[in-house]
Every structure is written in C-alpha cells, then in structure tokens.
C-alpha cells in the first residue's frame, strides 16, 4: 500500500511513453505531431497533479476556505498550453511545406528522395 499514493506519476509516465513511442516508431509527420501533443499533455498532467492538495479547492479566494491547491503550476501550464498550440501550428506548417516540396510527409520517402539527389550530385561531381 506504500506506493499507492504515487499512481498519478505512473499515469503520467505511461502517457509520456505512449507519446514517445509514437514519435519514434511512426514515420508520418502528422502522427509524430499528435504524439508530441500527447507527450506534452502528460507533462501538463504531471504539473497539475502535483499542485493538487487533499481537501483544497481551486485557487480563487473565498471566505471560509483556507486550503487551496497550488496556483503556481496552474499559471505555468496555462501559458504552456497556448504556447503549445502556437508551436504545434508551426510544426503543421512545416509538414505542409514538406508535402509541397517532396510530395509526401512520410519520413522514409523524404529520406529516400534526399539520398537519391545526394547520390546524383556525387555522381555528377565524379563525372566532372
């Protein structure tokens, strides 16, 4: 029973590893971005869950309440969520541009195309 109080961290770790697995194992860039958002949310959950105090309420001052949850992690995560969407949008924009340039957003296709052009370049240089 000693470790039962730690289950919030374990949920966070499991979510984080799901996100990490998606980022490593999937070649599709949109899926990688979804994986990153899952990873990101797991960090949010970590912060919010350690801010929780037993018997506390939301940190909005009220008469007769003395126990509040910790407001500092809330502030950090609040801003992080909005920054997160802005950076996700940037990632999606990059994916769209890659699609236009390579005709694909699969990591493997892009790599193959790059290798192909590199080989051609080195062949050309040898020819000279």
């Amino acid at each position: 029973m000693m470790f039962m109080g730690l289950y919030n961290y374990w949920i966070v770790v499991v979510l984080m590893m799901i996100g990490l697995y998606i980022v490593i194992a999937h070649g599709n860039l949109i899926k990688k971005i979804v994986g990153l958002t899952i990873f990101q949310t797991s960090v949010f959950i970590f912060y919010i869950s350690i801010a929780k105090v037993d018997g506390g309420t939301a940190p909005i001052l009220e008469d007769g309440v003395s126990q509040y949850s910790n407001p500092l992690p809330h502030v950090l995560i609040l801003t992080a969520i909005v920054v997160g969407i802005a950076t996700t949008a940037l990632g999606l924009a990059l994916a769209v541009r890659l699609k236009e340039a390579y005709g694909s957003i699969e990591e493997k296709h892009i790599q193959d195309l790059d290798n192909h052009t590199l080989e051609n370049q080195s062949k050309d240089e040898q020819g000279c």
Binding site: M17, G27, I33, F44, A86, I105
Partner: protein, 315 residues
C-alpha cells in the same frame, strides 16, 4: 490506425478528457484553456493540415521492437524515479512550501485580485508571461513566413466561385452560426474582463474570440472573412498586443519601480496593480486572438491555393 482524420478526432477527445481531468484537479483556469485550445483550435488546425497532406498513413514503422524496448526502459527508469516522490495530494510536499504560501496568503493585500492564478500570471510572474506572449507572437510570424501565399487579384473570381458552390449547400448551418457568433464574441469579452474574479483572462479570451472569427471564415469563405477583417490589420493588432505588454513594463520602469512593477503606476498601489493587470491582460488577449486568427487564415489561404491548382489540373 491508418486514417489520420480518426487519429486527429481521437486526439481532440483526449484533449477534452484531459480538460475535465484538470477540473477535477481544481485547476479551473487550465481546464478552460485546454478545452478551448486543445479540443477546439488544435483539432481544427490538424484537420486543415490533413486536407493538404493527405489523410492516410503508409504503415511503415521503422524498428518498432527497438522503439518499444527503448520506451519500456525509459518508462521503467522514470517509474523507479517516482518512488521517492511525495504522495499524490500530500499537503507537506515540497512544492507547497517556498513561494506558494505567499501567493495564497498575501496576494489579496498585495494585488487585490480574488483569482490567485490571475495575480500570479499577470503580476508576480508577469515577466514570464511576457516571454510566453513573445513566443506566441514569434510562432505566428513563423507560420506567416512558411505559409503565406501571394494572391493575385485575377484568381479571386475563380476561388470565389469554388467557395460559393461549397457554401450554398449549407444554408441552415450558415444562418444558425451567424446568430451564434455575436454571443461567442460577447462571451470572449466576458472572459477577458472577468479574469480577476473567476477562471478566465487574456489567454482564454483570445482563443475564444479567435474561434468566433474562424467559425465565420469557415462558413462564409476566407475571402469574405478577409473583407471583414483585413489580414494586415490582424498583424498590426498582434504586434500592438506585445507592445502594450512591454510598454506597461517600461512605464513602471520610468515611474521608478522595477520592470512590470504595477505599484508605481497609480497613487494607490492596489489601483496601480488593477490598472497594470487590466492593461497586460488586454495585451495578451490581442496577441493571442490575432496570432490564432493569423495562423488559421494562412493555413486556409494555402488550402484555397491548393484547391485552385487541383481544379485547374482536372480541367
């Protein structure tokens, strides 16, 4: 799962669930933000991106077993690391010492705002928030650089006719939404001004305000929306938001205080704090709203261009 639309929808549901989790954890402000950003805007942006990048995935995983092993090892180590952590909900855990008691006990006398999250966000850690706003602004510029398309006036007619064919089918949706939009805008303003007393503030208000404009752009076409709000005007507002935040800090600096120290803004320190929080929340709201609208406009503009090209090819 091969179908990326399903993946994105599931991600949206996951976001909404985590928002309700934040409510249970007493983080009303965070839940509010997550619900409007994660479940709303981010799902929408991913869907727009998928329309351009294709909705199915080639199922080629590179070395899934190796990835699984790596993930399991890291996860195991992390769980081993948590064994020393304070228990969930413990009152005496180290995070609740240090600055948190001061925020909870003294913020009423020092800032005079009921919502502690707002007073920490906008007053105690305003410098931090300034950084975040600049990051959002920069990300907006990045999207603008990556995706903006120059639109020639002679293409306008063609895009308009393409849009009209699509939009005429959705008459009921258009009329219902048209009635909804003013209420969404009003709610955004309420959230903006009510941030001192309950969950809310510039970040949430900005996102809600932007979602109303995005809704309009989705149903009436991008060119109509651009006629209502000019894109260069939105760019201006985004910059003005950051400028308002920074110059509030500068004014307090010139009045003899520290950067973003609102006590010196007014004769009465509490009134000064209120004025300062009001101004920077406006700055945050303006920047967030206009950056999100800007991001959507650029994604949608790119998509229109893409559709026009396809249309020409089929011709």
């Amino acid at each position: 799962m091969k179908d990326l639309v399903a993946v994105v929808m599931l991600a949206g549901i996951y976001s909404l669930l985590s928002a309700s989790f934040f409510v249970v954890m007493d983080a009303a402000d965070v839940a509010f933000t997550e619900a409007s950003v994660g479940a709303g805007i981010s799902t929408l942006l991913m869907l727009v991106a998928i329309t351009m990048t294709g909705r199915s995935e080639h199922l080629v995983r590179h070395k899934p077993m190796l990835a699984l092993v790596v993930v399991t090892i890291i996860g195991g180590l992390l769980i081993y690391g948590t064994l020393d952590m304070p228990h969930f909900g413990a009152v005496d855990s180290p995070i609740h010492g240090y600055v948190a008691p001061r925020y909870i006990n003294d913020s009423m006398q020092e800032v005079g705002v009921i919502n502690i999250v707002t007073s920490v966000l906008a007053s105690y850690r305003a410098f931090d928030t300034f950084g975040e706003v600049v990051v959002i602004f920069t990300a907006g510029i990045g999207v603008l650089v990556l995706l903006s398309v120059e639109r020639r006036p002679e293409d306008d007619a063609e895009i308009d006719s393409l849009n009209k064919a699509m939009h005429e089918q959705q008459l009921i949706l258009r009329i219902a939404t048209k009635m909804l939009i003013p209420f969404i805008l009003l709610f955004a303003l309420y959230v903006q001004f009510h941030g001192d007393f309950g969950p809310g503030g510039g970040f949430q208000a900005g996102v809600i305000f932007a979602s109303a404009i995005i809704l309009y752009a989705m149903l009436f076409g991008l060119s109509t929306a651009r006629r209502v709000i000019n894109q260069s005007f939105i760019q201006l507002v985004a910059a003005i938001g950051v400028l308002l935040f920074g110059s509030t800090g500068l004014v307090s600096l010139l009045n003899g205080g520290n950067f973003l120290d609102y006590n010196v803004l007014f004769v009465d320190p509490i009134a000064g704090q209120h004025l300062g929080i009001f101004l920077i929340e406006w700055g945050v709201g303006c920047t967030v709203a206009s950056v999100i609208v800007l991001i959507f406009f650029n994604f949608a503009g790119r998509r229109e261009n893409y559709k026009r090209k396809k249309h020409r090819e089929t011709k």
